[in-house]
Symmetry: C2
Subunit: 208 residues, 2 copies
Amino acid sequence: MTMSLSAELWPDVQPDAARRLMLAGVESFAQRGYHATTTRDIATNAGMSPAALYVHFPSKAALLFAISRSGHEQALELVRTAAESADAPTRAMREIVERFVAWHARRHTIARVVQYELGALPEKEYRVVAELRRDIERIVHDLVVKGANAGVFTVSDPMTAARAVLSLGVDVARWYTDRSRKSPTALGREYGELALRMLGADPARSPS
Amino acid sequence: MTMSLSAELWPDVQPDAARRLMLAGVESFAQRGYHATTTRDIATNAGMSPAALYVHFPSKAALLFAISRSGHEQALELVRTAAESADAPTRAMREIVERFVAWHARRHTIARVVQYELGALPEKEYRVVAELRRDIERIVHDLVVKGANAGVFTVSDPMTAARAVLSLGVDVARWYTDRSRKSPTALGREYGELALRMLGADPARSPS
């Protein structure tokens, strides 16, 4: 169960032991926070010795960085693909929000670590992740501007609007649980409508 | 400096030593997380001995509870007052969002602890705070329903819409810093417009 989940989450990470450590790290960080988690906790959680952990990650910070970078890269890829999926800004924005929200609901435990443990990253690693975050913001910002120029969006400050759109998705990771009554996909669809309205567009003119 | 800030944050808490411990707790929890913070860290940060801390709070969990309950009570009071400040749902909703967003920006360090360390509260204390959260959600939800019934809001699911409105405010605490270029008040005003649009209302018909 755990093995197949970790393979699904990080298909590009090899070997499987590294993926198991990432999953154990996510679970430990999400539960007790980065600073209160020891490498021993993580290794035990993954059924390994602390020495085995260091074979794959030189430090606890390196493990957090691997989790954080991978999560941000997945989010960026998802936002970029969604943005390129349609020419019409309303259509593209709806795709972004639907997929971004669904990802934060489906992957809420990883997303919590990714979103809330940024401050624990060492300076150099933080800069790498911050650049990925800027890329995500930039795609949404540019699409807001494109829609405003095309007359389909009405916003007073594109950067604030872009950040608010992303906030809707990010905050889902805080409250969503496996017991939430809406599926990630259904929630994404509703949020897609809310986000389009927020940008002054009529969702009925760009159906899901 | 620290003393006057703690008095401003918790005017109802006495004596000043208890307020200083709450402020030291907020700073420590926000920086390293609840689980990685010891009562010794907090006492030292407040310029006291660990024994002096226990005079005011029987445990670290009791201190977190005091911070969390106070933060939620302030947010609830703010939302309730805003909701009652106007009869028109659009006007009342704008007031709620403006004040809720500004509070999360101005008090971003406290708000982070309040919003992200909920899981660290013991069961009984968690239930008290969860009830305050439901009260906040209920006020916003009821206002969404009132506006929908009055034909000024258009939403497919009032609970999802209410949660999205609150998410806009909560997530501000995650990214807002003292170096952010917009003041809490200015940000609140912009978000008030975005939230009204999200609910299908025209902000121009209910100016700030």
